[in-house]
Symmetry: C2
Subunit: 262 residues, 2 copies
Amino acid sequence: MTDEKNSLSFEKELDRFLPGISVDCVILGYNEGILHTLVLKWKNLDVWSLPGGFVFKNESIDNAAYRVLNQRTGLENVFLKQFETFGGMNRVWNASSKNQHMMQVLMDQMHFDNQHKVKNWFQQRFISVGYFALLNMEDAKPIADFLSEECTWKRVDELPELLLDHSEMIHKVLQHLRNQINYLPIGKELLPKKFTMMDLQSIHEAILQKSLDRGNFQRKILSLKFLKRHEKLMLGAQNKAPYLYSFNEKVYMKSLQKGLGA
Amino acid sequence: MTDEKNSLSFEKELDRFLPGISVDCVILGYNEGILHTLVLKWKNLDVWSLPGGFVFKNESIDNAAYRVLNQRTGLENVFLKQFETFGGMNRVWNASSKNQHMMQVLMDQMHFDNQHKVKNWFQQRFISVGYFALLNMEDAKPIADFLSEECTWKRVDELPELLLDHSEMIHKVLQHLRNQINYLPIGKELLPKKFTMMDLQSIHEAILQKSLDRGNFQRKILSLKFLKRHEKLMLGAQNKAPYLYSFNEKVYMKSLQKGLGA
DNA sequence: TCAAAAGTGTTTCCAATACACCCATGA
DNA sequence: TCATGGGTGTATTGGAAACACTTTTGA
């Protein structure tokens, strides 16, 4: 089985990883007014977690995070940024019966040559470096890893309970996004090439959790001169058709350096 | 010698540390218009570095950073915050002749039972979690560690070349301070209990690297209502004596949550 | 009475906000 | 021609910025 192959190759890779260090990725996508994040469901367990992984001895932590992102989405050249490192003592898979059960189910269905070694690996204390990614949901094809039966988008406002401190990580990222919304390439990363002004405004509203004035938003964005206006989007709705826009990336990036202004 | 004792107890402690993880602290103080940071000079070497340390297997990384801060300053209850984790491949003490020399000098003057073990420890690849602290320079008594001959304040604009990526760390912290100046308890942490308005303004100017309008600064700060006005400070200068102020911490913290405004 | 620096007042300007008005679209 | 939502215009407001004026202090 591919499961067996994956198990064995993972087991072999263990020696190539730095011990005690992991990376976790909050991968954010946007669709129809709602922010989503990519989560994994562990095989035969009612346990969800963020995509994560370990750091090869000869790669940077940035690279490790990028590798995880790439493996779960198939995408390259995605916006990815470190946000915080989690190193509390609460992160250990301690000997609670729930964790024991998880570990047992995990071991039973995998085919490791040396179960003890793999078990010890997972029960180490990990210090995890948290990253977040922004991407267009349409582009990504979620791919589960060999420990998971499902890799899927979930609305950030309807997340299941997550492993360890993964919920806290998402919370922190959303907080960070709110604080940094004027300095991050939110629109460029989360939207397709062409989009309407309302699309962009909706993203801002989703992040800030409040509604913005349509006219003022449009004026402020247009005044920054980083949007190119294209043809109108005819949807057959009985109202005025909105223009499509795309980013002039040079001007956009320069605007972001100064911030889009409160 | 205490050197010998320190060497041996450090050597023993090695087994209690997580391998491959370190913390480094950018400890900032303020004095007479200039920001300073605490740096260490390695014994008999022309090498300076930030105060740093390792993480015990049974403590959080926050705690490890706090321990370092406490050991180098003698202070407790200091503002300390994680800012970024450094995990590039450029962080390894590679086999350059300069590093070889450093290691040799280090080993020669210490008294390790098992030089090989200690040497290997330092030559590991480390992933370092960066913290910064804000404190009143008057309070701290810099204390060197057993590897250092000197622990002292240096102006951040006149720093010597630093070990590894420590210069980058300081740079990043100063950048962070500029971005977050309106959300950090800069004044409370860097100044003594009582201070003049000009003291507070000077800190802001030092961080932002630009001069601010005296009148406007005073008005903005006073409008936020978090300062208590006390008696005047009579210095014997032939000019109007400034009032002394102190923080109403409750109101101050509440103001910081919203930000002091652009 | 003078210089220097602190405290306060005044004016201007810009950007955020609220909201009104007209326009395009397809039923 | 009507309802709907997109695009643009306008008036108001509050805070930032520039700078002028007054007060206090010791020489």
